[in-house]
């Protein structure tokens, strides 16, 4: 092909420009450490890096959420442990009072201790976290949940249970509301209660109650009525007799899948009511116990009443301990979930950072090699230009 000098110039300049622009791009890569600085250089990787960065930021947010959940759950766990300690003490006090030979002074002392426990429990139920939020008031975290007033302890919280997101598709509850922990406690043995009818004149006291055969118990109410000569019959709500017999102290009366043990001697006309368990607040249980302890033991009737009250309190306290243990076990489970999520998040974040780095970071070895070869190419092009520029026929004319 016929080549002209001006074409040679143009081509040389174009080539030099291209080489310099490529060299500058490589230089930019080496100085920033990035394999690409705009999406055009690698559109797919740019989209992926953006996506991975978002996933990473989200994962870091989950970690922060999980840490906050961990703090909340640990606060709750501590409070629940203390609640249980108090309930155990209360249970021991009730047992002491039930010994039968307790003097009225001692009962007063026990009552005073029970009041102390009631106050401590109230304080624990109103536990606040580090930022002043009540942990047992459901969603109403700024409202004090439990207040002692003339009619007992009232609950101002709600049944909300806040959750936080600790991983993609995984939420964990950060607490439990006051209804669950303190209020919704089954009375009696958790299935039914047996209690003396008001106006009983005998010394019959309710002892152990059990559900012998859950399949036979349909949740109804029954009455154990005593007649002459220690005879008794058990009637259901419709007045139908479902069991009958002759009673001796300490005897277990069985009916409808249930077993009720009575002690003492009920008088003829005395009656014991068996009803399905209902929910009762811990504070009501404690208040009832204190009231019973303060009622005095001067008469046999009072002693019988105290015995029955303590028997009821013991059952209710046991239920409360069961309930708080259950909640605490759930809290422990959630803490485990959070710990697992945290450790998974840590390894996921490492993984993500590795992926981002492998997409985005420059391979220095190859970049430096490229830089070197581009350098060589550029200086060779310049060398070639200066050499060919010397060639002209005019040099030899004349």
């Amino acid at each position: 092909m016929r080549v002209t000098q001006s074409l040679e110039q143009t081509q040389f300049l174009t080539a030099i420009n291209n080489l310099e622009s490529a060299l500058s791009e490589t230089q930019n890569q080496v100085s920033t450490g990035l394999a690409f600085t705009t999406p055009a250089e690698d559109p797919i990787a740019a989209g992926n890096v953006s996506n991975l960065n978002e996933v990473l930021a989200q994962s870091q947010q989950y970690t922060s959420n999980a840490n906050s959940a961990q703090t909340s759950l640990e606060t709750e766990n501590t409070a629940l442990t203390q609640v249980q300690t108090q309930l155990q003490s209360l249970y021991s006090l009730a047992l002491q009072a039930n010994a039968g030979t307790v003097s009225s002074e001692n009962l007063s002392a026990i009552s005073a201790q029970a009041t102390q426990i009631q106050n401590t429990l109230l304080g624990l139920a109103n536990t606040q976290d580090g930022s002043g939020q009540y942990i047992f008031s459901g969603y109403a975290t700024t409202t004090q949940p439990f207040t002692l007033n003339a009619t007992g302890v009232s609950y101002a919280g709600d049944q909300g249970q806040a959750q936080v997101q600790i991983a993609a598709g995984q939420k964990v509850a950060t607490g439990d509301n006051g209804d669950t922990v303190f209020n919704a406690i089954k009375t009696g043995n958790g299935t039914f209660t047996a209690s003396p009818a008001t106006g009983n004149t005998g010394t019959g006291v309710v002892g152990a109650t059990t559900v012998a055969n859950p399949a036979d118990y349909s949740g109804g109410s029954y009455a154990i009525d005593f007649g002459a000569n220690s005879s008794y019959q058990v009637e259901d709500a419709g007045g139908n007799v479902v069991a009958s017999g002759t009673y001796a102290s300490g005897q277990t009366i069985s009916f409808a899948g249930l077993q009720v043990t009575l002690s003492g001697q009920p008088a003829a006309g005395d009656s014991f009511n068996v009803a399905p368990s209902t929910n009762q607040s811990i504070f009501t249980t404690v208040q009832n116990l204190i009231t019973a302890l303060n009622a005095g033991t001067g008469t046999a009737a009072q002693q019988t009443q105290l015995g029955n009250s303590i028997a009821a309190a013991l059952g209710n306290i046991e239920q409360a301990i069961t309930q708080t243990s259950t909640v605490q076990a759930q809290v422990g489970g959630r803490l485990n979930t959070v710990t697992t999520a945290l450790s998974l998040a840590t390894s996921q974040q490492t993984q993500l950072q590795t992926s981002i780095s492998s997409l985005q970071s420059l391979n220095y070895a190859s970049a430096v090699t490229t830089l070197d070869s581009q350098n060589t190419q550029l200086s060779a092009a310049m060398e070639a230009y200066t050499q060919t520029q010397g060639l002209s026929l005019f040099k030899y004319i004349g």
Binding site: Q5, Q11, P39, A162, L393
Partner: protein, 629 residues
């Protein structure tokens, strides 16, 4: 004898001309558009000398340009394509930089915004967390708005570019027309002798015109050329010029289109597909506007999903939330060519079906047609355009104010304005609706097995939505609300006061369930807003807002990459065409050096012949003198 002198003289004159032409070539070796010239020598007419004929010397028949119309056309056409790509590339690269900036980009801002909701969910009563969320929302809005602003400023750059190109095209066309006239006169005077310099100048002008817009040329027998632009619109016809003008787009007065004076407002932009002008027009329709639309689509999706969740929650003051983001809706613009004043209004009814395309709604002979504005493909729709039966397509509802005139057109832009107008609509952090509007509870004293699920808001506008409502069971199969009795079916939804809730299990008589307004520490709405990070909103609920952001980065990057590749390839093609033209028309100094020597030697030889003629004549005269003296 006289022959001898005249032959030598003709040779001396011819070689002098040849040396001049060669010198001129050397002088113009670096003149752009200069085509190397060469003398065309021919033997003089022979003269009869008795029985012999002897030549009469040499004549310069013409001075020719080394020129190939084919190579020149190829160069012009490849230059048009290259200019188009150069101009398009400068815009795709700018968009690439605008969208792709990772730090402070939309993707990061979006992630921070969702994370701020998550943080608020962990501590819904915290004022600092609310303030932080509001700041993140504002910086997200800022980031989207700034990006849209930068894209819009590209459109004004394009407008200036179009104006400048059109002015330059008109001026070049004018120069070509006047050169045409001079060339016609020159050719007529010089007979076969073409005015080479004028031809070179005209070729240069056509080449520079080709950089601005693709042109085709035809040559008249008298040497004048006709220049056509676009799809054959005459620009120069011999000595006449059809001036190009810029006119406002029929739908959008802020966008300039190219038209010809004779076409009036009938824009010829769509036929200009190459040259710098073609690149500018393509940058607008293929790069800037689609990117703005895509950005608008994600802004609209973000606003729609965030607002619908925010308005179904409660703010820190216990009020139902108000819209978090404000965003401009779809717009319908009547063409300035429409013959009556019928207007169209368009509203968004399904964010999932919303696309980033623009549509043209036209009414011809009693029937509506909807087409995709960029591809021209027909778009299926339903409805007749009345308020009762709007035209529905692509998640939009279009209502016409009346029956348009036949031939009327409307441009429907679903998302074009969304990104630029995207802003945070609330200013008080307490207005962020972190709490669910409603929460439910079962009375502690309930003895049945009934449980109540979460309440969902069905009608946020119900005045009694937040009122506390007790659902009191009078038997396991019936309940009362505010004194009215209803039959109970386990699990069936209970609708009341604009909310819906389900109770399952077997409640006992006397059991009570309560639905009331969310408490301050309720975080369910904040959780739902944080979870929108991975919630499919766009494309029929398959694409999250973040997904759309990443897709935007990839699509913008791919387009820039594709244009870069095409530009590199076209540069090679163009450089090949340039080499081709240069190898035909360029001046090679070595050639000229050789020619110079050749003509110099020929001149010397002719001079020698002249001297010999002189000597011969002198010898003859001397011998005659000797005989007669």
């Amino acid at each position: 004898m006289s022959d001898l002198f005249s032959i030598s003289t003709s040779a001396l004159q011819a070689f002098e001309t040849a040396i001049s032409v060669t010198s001129n070539n050397i002088a113009n070796a670096n003149t752009p558009g200069y085509a190397a010239e060469a003398v065309d020598l021919a033997a003089g007419v022979p003269q009869a000398d008795g029985s012999n004929t002897v030549g009469s010397g040499v004549v310069v028949q013409s001075v020719n340009r080394a020129y190939s119309q084919l190579a020149e056309n190829q160069l012009n056409s490849s230059q048009s394509s290259l200019s188009q790509l150069n101009s398009l590339q400068s815009y795709t690269n700018q968009i690439d930089n605008i969208i792709g900036t990772t730090a402070g980009g939309i993707g990061t801002a979006l992630g921070n915004y969702y994370n701020a909701w998550s943080t608020l969910a962990s501590d819904p009563t915290s004022t600092p967390a609310r303030q932080a969320l509001l700041s993140q929302a504002q910086s997200l809005a800022q980031s989207i708005q700034t990006t849209a602003g930068q894209l819009q400023s590209l459109n004004s750059q394009i407008n200036s570019g179009i104006t400048a190109d059109v002015a330059q095209i008109n001026s070049d066309a004018q120069s070509i027309a006047s050169l045409n006239q001079q060339i016609a006169i020159g050719s007529a005077q010089g007979g076969t002798q073409a005015p080479n310099t004028l031809l070179d100048q005209r070729d240069s002008l056509i080449a520079s015109l080709s950089q601005l817009a693709g042109v085709t040329t035809t040559t008249e027998p008298n040497g004048e050329v006709n220049v056509f632009i676009g799809s054959g619109q005459p620009l120069v016809l011999q000595g006449n010029v059809t001036q190009l003008t810029t006119v406002a787009n029929q739908f959008n007065a802020s966008q300039l289109e190219v038209s010809t004076a004779t076409n009036g407002s009938n824009a010829i932009s769509s036929s200009i597909t190459s040259g710098d002008l073609g690149g500018l027009l393509a940058a607008r329709t293929q790069a800037v506007d689609p990117t703005l639309n895509q950005l608008g689509q994600l802004a609209a999706g973000l606003a729609s999903s965030a607002n619908s969740q925010q308005t179904s929650g409660l703010d820190a003051n216990g009020n139902l939330g108000t819209a978090l983001f404000s965003v401009a809706g779809p717009v319908a613009t009547a063409s300035s060519n429409n013959s009556d004043a019928t207007s169209a209004t368009v509203s968004l009814n399904d964010i999932g079906a919303l696309t980033s395309d623009n549509y043209v709604l036209s009414y011809t002979n009693g029937a509506y047609a909807l087409t995709n504005a960029s591809t021209g493909a027909a778009v299926a729709f339903t409805g007749t355009g009345t308020a009762a039966n709007p035209i529905t397509a692509g998640g939009l509802s279009i209502v016409l104010s009346g029956t348009p005139a036949s031939g009327d057109e409307f441009l429907i832009q679903p998302t074009a304005n969304a990104a630029a107008s995207f802003s945070v609509a609330i200013s008080d952090p307490s207005q962020l609706a972190a709490a669910g509007a409603l929460q439910t509870s079962a009375a502690v004293g309930n003895t049945g097995s009934g449980t109540i699920g979460a309440a969902t808001v069905v009608t946020p506008t119900n005045a009694n939505l937040l009122a506390t409502v007790n659902i009191a069971f009078t038997s396991p199969t019936s309940y009362t609300i505010n004194g009215t009795s209803y039959a109970y079916t386990a699990g069936a939804p209970i609708d009341y006061n604009g909310w819906q809730v389900a109770i399952s299990g077997t409640p006992a008589a006397g059991d009570t369930f309560t639905v009331d307004a969310g408490s301050s520490g309720n975080n369910t709405n904040a959780l739902a807003l944080a979870a929108q990070q991975s919630l499919g909103v766009l494309s029929g609920g398959t694409t999250s807002i973040e997904g759309a952001t990443n897709a935007l980065i990839t699509s913008v990057g791919s387009q820039a990459q594709q244009i870069n590749t095409a530009q590199t390839a076209q540069t090679a093609v163009n450089s090949q065409a340039q080499q081709n033209v240069q190898s035909i028309s360029g001046v090679n100094l070595d050639d000229e050096a050789a020619n110079l020597l050749q003509w110099q030697q020929a001149y010397q030889a002719s001079a020698q012949a002249f001297a010999i003629g002189n000597t011969t004549f002198t010898t003859l005269m001397d011998s005659i003198n000797g005989t007669y003296s």
